[in-house]
């Protein structure tokens, strides 16, 4: 697997952090943490901006976290014609990271409110493609 398997549309396949996609296929949303200085990263990165020679390790983001903000997009970019409208949210997780994703259509849009508890749930979009969504 590589980043060509990630999301509704994508623009690049290669990245050193490709294990992110493998973890996702195992049902886990993962961030990275620098072993040297302890800095946590989401999106995950294999390089720490502070420590050049650092090793990073993966940690799982399980939540639940709290919804910070959200919007329902009625007109999406090319590739999103069939999925619009969709709701995007940004969630603060107790693991110490902030994450953007789509909020599941299982949640009634009128019940979406700042502060509500959400957790990340990996999803298979097709045989080839996977993503993660926020569910309550």
């Amino acid at each position: 697997m590589d980043f060509g398997n990630f999301g509704v549309v994508n623009f690049t396949k290669e990245a050193k952090s490709v294990a992110f996609v493998d973890y996702l296929s195992e049902g886990k949303l993962m961030g990275t943490e620098c072993k040297k200085c302890g800095k946590k990263y989401f999106p995950p990165r294999m390089d720490c901006a502070k420590c050049f020679d650092s090793e990073v390790e993966w940690f799982e983001i399980k939540g639940p976290g709290k919804l910070v903000t959200y919007t329902t997009v009625n007109f999406g970019p090319s590739g999103f014609e069939e999925v619009q409208p969709y709701t995007l949210g940004i969630v603060d997780f107790p693991e110490g990271v902030r994450v953007l994703a789509k909020i599941s259509k299982k949640i009634d849009p009128t019940s979406i409110k700042a502060g509500m508890e959400l957790r990340p749930v990996p999803q298979q979009l097709s045989e080839e493609k996977l993503t993660y969504e926020f569910e309550n």
């Binding site: 903000t69 919007t71 970019p77 940004i90």
Partner: protein, 385 residues
């Protein structure tokens, strides 16, 4: 008053939906508008900076093409990009080139021909102004990014959809008086509040429209400026700062830290504060952006941007007039062309050339130009003698 680097001329094309010109011709029209007013020969230009966002037209490395069409070779030219704030980044660099003593006259030309793309593709290109590996795969868009800030601001401070609409009512009032504006219709509160939803809570009239346009700003050193104009407008402070590209990497989703840092740098350099600004052009790509700008520039306290428009303090007769040329909302927002157009309005205001919309006795003006969703911020302060 610092008298080191001056704007000696500024011009722009009309901002319109489909301009019927190539990018070189569009740039020529903007440059002509500026250069004719001071009768400058292209061979007197020491360097040019060409600013736009890539991927709207197919021209690779447009700087040399534009430079050739304007008659500038062999003087140096280069391309600069910070998406929607490319124009003012060009002015910042032009300022530095002159202040360093390397050049005496630098021209900045900013342009965009957005009508080359259909709206679906344009949404994708702009959406790739976010992290293309981790965010764009979710369908992030520019209206969507600003909508996230709008929702967060409403939840945190009680800002209302009506306050957002009032921003557009004001800017459409001034857009209707600007012959170069793309959208000249006056809008009332009802029309704004009943418009189609684009990205909750932002509706059609909360958003600026894609259009074509170019602008040009000619900068000169103090000695040279006098040869061309008796109305130089002096740059007093240039502040620039950047926020993380990835929205989820940012600490605040209710204000733009980039703007706060840029404003601090510009005010310090100019030796003035927000209370000294007589007229401002702010980057209202969305209505919420103008509310955020009020707060991030210090015109209102944090959380109280909505109150400023309730009090009509930002009309041209108010305490701190903002976007009295229609703003991006009504003028239109041709990405690379926008910053130069904002500068042009401030130059005209400080020269007292704005007729009906003239702010009385305007001496100090401010331009706030933002790239992406608060990603890049330029704040430039101008003064007149």
């Amino acid at each position: 008053m610092k008298k080191e680097v001056a704007v000696i001329a500024a011009g722009q094309t009309p901002f319109i939906r489909s301009c019927g010109m190539s990018i070189r011709e569009l740039c020529f029209e903007a440059y002509k508008d500026a250069a004719k007013s001071i009768n400058i020969d292209p061979k007197d230009v020491d360097a040019s900076i060409i600013a736009s966002a890539p991927e709207y037209d197919k021209q690779r490395t447009p700087a040399a093409l534009v430079s050739e069409y304007l008659g500038f070779p062999p003087s140096p030219t280069f391309y600069l990009e910070t998406v929607c704030s490319s124009g003012t980044t060009g002015i910042r660099v032009g300022y530095a080139l002159i202040k360093s003593g390397l050049h005496d006259i630098v021209v900045m030309v900013g342009f965009q021909k957005m009508s080359e793309l259909d709206s679906r593709t344009a949404a994708q290109v702009m959406g790739r102004g976010d992290d293309t590996i981790f965010s764009s795969p979710f369908g992030t868009t520019m209206p969507g990014g600003h909508a996230l800030y709008a929702q967060a601001h409403m939840d945190a401070y009680g800002t209302t959809e009506e306050q957002l609409a009032k921003i557009r009512v004001k800017n459409s009032f001034y857009g209707s008086q600007n012959e170069l504006a793309n959208y000249k219709k006056r809008l009332d509160l009802e029309a704004c509040l009943n418009a189609d939803m684009v990205c909750t809570p932002l509706k059609k009239f909360d958003c600026c429209a894609n259009c074509d346009g170019a602008s040009a700003v000619i900068l000169a050193s103090a000695d040279v400026a006098k040869k061309y104009t008796d109305k130089p407008i002096w740059i007093q402070g240039v502040g620039m700062a950047t926020s993380e590209l990835n929205w989820s990497s940012r600490a605040s989703l209710t204000n733009f830290d980039s703007v706060r840092n840029a404003a601090k740098a510009a005010y310090e350099m100019a030796g003035v504060g927000p209370e000294d600004i007589n007229v401002a052009e702010v980057h209202d790509c969305f209505t919420v952006s103008e509310i955020l700008a009020y707060e991030d520039l210090g015109f209102a306290k944090t959380g109280e941007g909505g109150k400023l428009i309730d009090e009509e303090a930002t009309y041209h007769t108010g305490r701190i007039p903002v976007n009295v040329d229609g703003g991006l909302l009504s003028k239109g927002h041709p990405i690379g062309g926008t910053g130069g157009s904002q500068v042009r309005t401030i130059v005209k205001q400080l020269r007292g050339e704005c007729g009906e919309t003239q702010v009385e006795n305007a001496k100090i003006g401010l331009v706030h130009n933002v790239g992406g969703v608060g990603t890049y911020a330029n704040v430039i302060i101008f003064g007149r003698e």
